[in-house]
């Protein structure tokens, strides 16, 4: 073979595991995969329980470490028509054990466990969630029990998702810790370019001068001119612009288009001039941190560090110091591809990389000083790699402020409250196409369940009665549920201290009534498609939360399978 002179790079050839997980490793990388494999998810399954099982399918396949299903019910004939992870032989057996068995077939490396104990006694144990890193809880759940689940989960800061799926509609809410920061948000690559053309540092200026020397005097060969990296062209023409504009750079849109003509005057056709012109509007903006970054830099956690603060806040504090001193964030250091000779491009790349490393070193030094001043144990020293990643993604870090779940039906006759979100949610009521009506319908559904008992006995005792579940219940339950939902609407309007006049008020109520009718229509049954779709959405959010990559939903996602659309509300 012609490649004898190169030793075969065995370390690079993928392992069997890397082959199997290739398509997902390209999204969340080895670190995300490790996080998945160290996770143990608990599914508290209720009702038809399809969405929860479909969620687990999407977690078992990519290789979650372990999962447990808590479900005291026995497999019924109706389960077989809607749940893919049961078969005819499952009939009459415990649903937890049967679904675990068939889910485990999907991935031999994943461990599954079944618990057939009733939720009420399970939750009464001391520290019932100690073994789990994440909880999924499928409706219906009695409000008092859901409140206990929330309290237990909050004690251990375990992310928890509650799930509803009824007929053509579904909803889920995420209970995340009060501070849930994400460094690796995977922003769109076009959004991340930060080349600092308005504030170039000496090495970059010098390189641009070298590359453009002789350009305007016509002392360059056509070949040389056609290969000046566009970054250098812009820097050169900025200097020229400043000469005639009192040392100022183009700021307004009009100035920028004039500046673009100036660049264009250098050459009408060459590709690198095209690239420079195309970049003018995007790259001549002073890099100001987004509001969400500023929120993190000025968060109470950032300013009040102590020895045990999570590493994220140490780095955030150090970045804040950096920003205060330099009026900009650390340089990310990436350079997009552009027309250039190979060696020139690599030089340019290195100039950016070197500056990024210097910025990062400065941040790291601050982190070390902060560690010393707070008396942080050397065993807990912040990882250099984390500082590096933070610096690279500083402009795109994200913080989710987890909120408690909105639990309906806790006190009889008291409609669910919206608290500090009341004003915003009341505005949603009259926003065209908003799915707030669906959210309210699900709250009404929960409230109905809190006050109605089913006569059927199961392994766990009395079960909550779901609206529309009896053969003759449709009309009566629709009316009941709509009544509850309308009370919630009125209560929300009152809580927000606003009021909505007719005809809008009647439209709001009619809209909510339609969602109620559809939820009752399903009689508590799941449609497999909606369960599967929602299982996809929830699994994706679980993966984001576990890997701490990408940006999770904050905090309630609604899906309308009639109109085929979704909306995320912060409630």
């Amino acid at each position: 073979m012609a490649t004898e002179d190169i030793p075969p790079p065995l370390h690079d050839i993928p392992t069997a595991k890397e082959k199997k997980y290739d398509r997902q490793l390209r999204l969340w990388g080895a670190s995300g995969q490790i996080a998945l494999e160290e996770t143990h998810v608990l599914l508290i399954n209720n009702g038809p329980g399809v969405t929860g099982v479909e969620t687990l399918k999407n977690l078992v396949l990519p290789g979650i470490g372990q999962f447990t299903i808590l479900d005291p019910t026995l497999v019924s004939e109706a389960d077989l028509g809607v749940n893919f992870f049961l078969d005819d032989a499952s009939l009459g057996k415990f649903r937890a054990a049967e679904t675990v068995k068939l889910l485990m077939e999907l991935n031999p490396t994943v461990q599954g466990h079944a618990i057939s104990e009733p939720l009420e006694t399970f939750i009464a144990q001391e520290k019932p969630f100690a073994r789990y890193n994440l909880i999924l809880a499928a409706a219906p759940i009695e409000p008092a029990i859901l409140a206990t689940i929330q309290r237990r989960a909050q004690e251990l800061q375990i992310p928890t998702f509650t799930i509803h799926s009824t007929g053509f509609f579904s909803a889920f809410s995420a209970l995340l810790p009060p501070a849930f920061p994400i460094v690796d948000t995977h922003p769109d690559s076009t959004a991340t370019t930060d080349l600092r053309l308005l504030l170039p540092w000496p090495e970059l200026v010098q390189f641009a001068n070298e590359m453009t020397a002789g350009l305007e005097e016509g002392k360059m060969t056509a070949q040389e001119k056609a290969h000046i990296p566009w970054v250098c062209l812009i820097l050169r023409y900025l200097e020229k612009w400043k000469e005639t504009h009192a040392g100022k750079v183009p700021e307004t849109y009009k100035e920028k288009t004039e500046f673009r003509s100036l660049v264009r005057s250098g050459d009408p056709h060459e590709e690198n001039f095209d690239e420079a012109c195309a970049a003018v509007l995007k790259s001549l903006n002073p890099p100001t941190p987004s509001s969400s970054v500023r929120e993190i830099l000025s968060a109470p956690e950032t300013s009040s560090l102590d020895a045990t603060s999570p590493a994220f806040w140490f780095i955030a504090h150090a970045i804040h110091l950096f920003y205060t001193q330099h009026k900009q964030l650390p340089l990310p250091g990436a350079v997009p591809d552009m027309k250039a000779q190979s060696a020139d491009y690599i030089k340019l790349q290195n100039i950016y990389k070197t500056k990024a490393r210097q910025d990062c070193a400065e941040v790291l030094e601050s982190v070390r000083k902060l560690e010393k001043s707070t008396g942080r144990s050397p065993k807990m020293a912040v990882d250099e790699k984390d500082v590096e990643n933070f610096c690279k993604g500083a402009a795109h870090i994200h913080l989710v402020r987890g909120r408690p779940l909105q639990i309906a039906g806790l006190e009889e006759g008291q409609p669910a409250k919206f608290g500090d979100r009341a004003t915003t949610m009341a505005m949603e009521l009259t926003t065209p196409d908003s799915l707030i009506g669906l959210h309210i319908a699900f709250l009404a559904w929960d409230e109905y369940i809190a006050t109605h008992r089913s006569s059927a006995k199961s392994a766990g005792g009395e079960l909550p009665k779901v609206p529309g579940s009896g053969p003759g219940d449709f009309e009566a339950d629709t009316e009941k549920m709509t009544g509850i939902a309308h009370k919630i609407v009125d209560s929300l309007i009152k809580e927000a201290g606003t009021f909505i006049e007719d005809p809008e008020y009647s439209e709001v109520k009619e809209n909510v009534g339609k969602f109620c009718m559809e939820l009752v229509r399903a009689g508590g049954g799941e449609l497999h498609n909606i369960a599967s779709l929602t299982g996809g959405l929830v699994a994706q959010e679980v993966i984001k939360v576990i890997t701490r990559q990408y940006i999770p939903v904050d905090n309630t996602c609604l899906f309308d399978g009639v109109a085929s659309r979704s909306q995320v509300l912060r409630v």
Binding site: T3, P9, F84, F168, R521, L527, G536, Y550, A563, S564
Partner: protein
């Protein structure tokens, strides 16, 4: 019709172990919903036996038994569909196992369509799935005529364009059964889309082609002389070096030896140019044009497609693709969850479902060769082997070889020599049964 072709299956389903009583218990949830009026249904929706019967009797074609296809088959079976055909030409690879959940390690190497059909039939008794291992192009109109709904879960734009053109071509205004709703899903990483086409009535896949613009190719001279990115080194090994050194071996992107060879060539070239970042995984990704794929996105998109199919078959709720209504759902899941559901407008100058030619602004000084090359990257055409002709003469034919040779000299000629301003010309590609009509407008 089709039912007559599968008497045994039909008999087995109706006379099998599931008598009506257990059947109605088993399908309790779906049947309860279908037996009640909905808040959004048409006034003439009759709940009960009709929608329930429609689901059981509809014959559905699923194209693709991969990431989306596995989900689609499961979803259809558990929606109560009983007559399903599935087409896929591929065999199972180990890298499918992280999401194509009907397949196990022991199935690697077997045809996807067969394994998927077997698995779902075993898990959901009473559902009859007929697999076909092959290409969609192997089947004719008579075959496609037997279905009521076609659902695509494909990773190939070409196959989508082919089935779309076929279904549009099959529409006979005098025969309502000739109109086959086409439901299409696609994913990439955390993103995806689902859409419904009512051929000739609503915007078709070809109308929407520019929503999926091809990625701009790196110029050959960059690869050959001034590489700057690790990908440039890999493309150089792939496009240039392989031709130079292993011309006689057909490149098999699934052969680890071939990928390793390309990887090592790319690595040494990167070293020569001080470029860092070439890895085996990147080599594989670039050469095979790998699109990241995960179970959860597939689940979302496949279920959205099947939800639309369920609504179309039962009329139990409004569906995407009703003329004048939304027909397209874009889904993004990497930053929160976001869907955008809208109506994509039908185009009068669509080469498949429209009847008007499209204006094309051309530089008269350009050569025909430059124009020919541009068709691969034009978002609305994406033709790799275009054939061009006017009403009077042949301009250029990429195939067959004889015609190519005869018309090759034209490539050097200026457009002003070949076309008149305002003249209509047609572009086609042997890969599709589509002719693009353009009117030359010299700038």
């Amino acid at each position: 019709m089709a039912a007559a072709q599968q008497p045994e299956a039909a008999v087995r389903t109706t006379n099998g172990p599931s008598d009506t009583d257990t059947a109605s218990k088993r399908w309790k949830y779906a049947h309860t919903l279908l037996s009640r009026p909905g808040a959004y249904t048409d006034e003439d929706f009759e709940p009960g036996a009709i929608p329930i019967g429609n689901i059981a009797q509809s014959h559905v074609l699923v194209i693709g038994a991969g990431g989306l296809g596995c989900e689609i088959l499961k979803n259809l079976a558990l929606s109560g569909f009983k007559k399903i055909d599935v087409i896929d030409m591929d065999t199972i690879d180990v890298s499918n196992l992280n999401r194509q959940f009907l397949f196990r390690e022991k199935d690697v190497g077997r045809p996807k369509a067969e394994v998927a059909a077997e698995f779902v039939m075993k898990r959901v008794p009473g559902c009859m799935i007929t697999p076909f291992v092959g290409k969609i192009q192997d089947k004719d109109e008579e075959y496609y005529m037997q279905f009521q709904i076609v659902i695509c879960g494909l990773d190939s734009i070409e196959a989508r364009r082919w089935i779309n053109a076929t279904l549009v071509g099959m529409v006979d205004m005098d025969n309502p059964d000739s109109l086959k709703p086409l439901v299409d899903g696609g994913t990439e990483g955390f993103k995806g889309q689902s859409r419904v086409v009512f051929p000739t009535m609503t915007s078709c896949i070809e109308c929407q082609l520019d929503m999926h613009a091809p990625r701009a190719a790196v110029p050959l001279c960059t690869l050959a002389t001034i590489p700057r990115q690790p990908q440039h080194c890999i493309e150089w090994a792939h496009i240039i070096k392989w031709e130079e050194e292993r011309k006689d071996t057909a490149l098999d992107t699934d052969d680890p030896e071939h990928i390793t060879w390309l990887y090592q060539k790319a690595l040494s070239r990167a070293k020569d140019f001080n470029i860092s970042g070439v890895t085996y995984s990147m080599t594989q990704g670039v050469v095979k044009n790998i699109i990241p794929a995960i179970a959860s996105t597939n689940a979302v998109i496949a279920a959205s497609c099947c939800n639309e199919a369920f609504k179309i078959a039962t009329s139990s709720a409004p569906f995407l693709g009703n003329p004048g209504q939304n027909n397209y759902m874009l889904y993004t899941g990497d930053s929160g969850i976001y869907t955008y559901t809208f109506e994509h407008q039908k185009k009068d100058d669509c080469p498949v479902c429209g009847n008007l030619p499209k204006d094309m602004t051309l530089n008269a000084e350009q050569t025909l060769g430059e124009l020919v090359e541009s068709f691969a990257e034009r978002p609305e055409s994406q033709l790799k082997k275009p054939n061009l002709r006017t009403e009077e003469k042949t301009l250029y034919y990429s195939t067959p070889m004889g015609l190519e040779e005869a018309t090759r000299p034209n490539l050097e000629k200026k457009l002003s020599e070949m076309l008149a301003d305002g003249e209509e010309f047609a572009v086609s590609d042997p890969a599709f049964d589509i002719t693009f009509r353009y009117v030359a407008r010299f700038s």
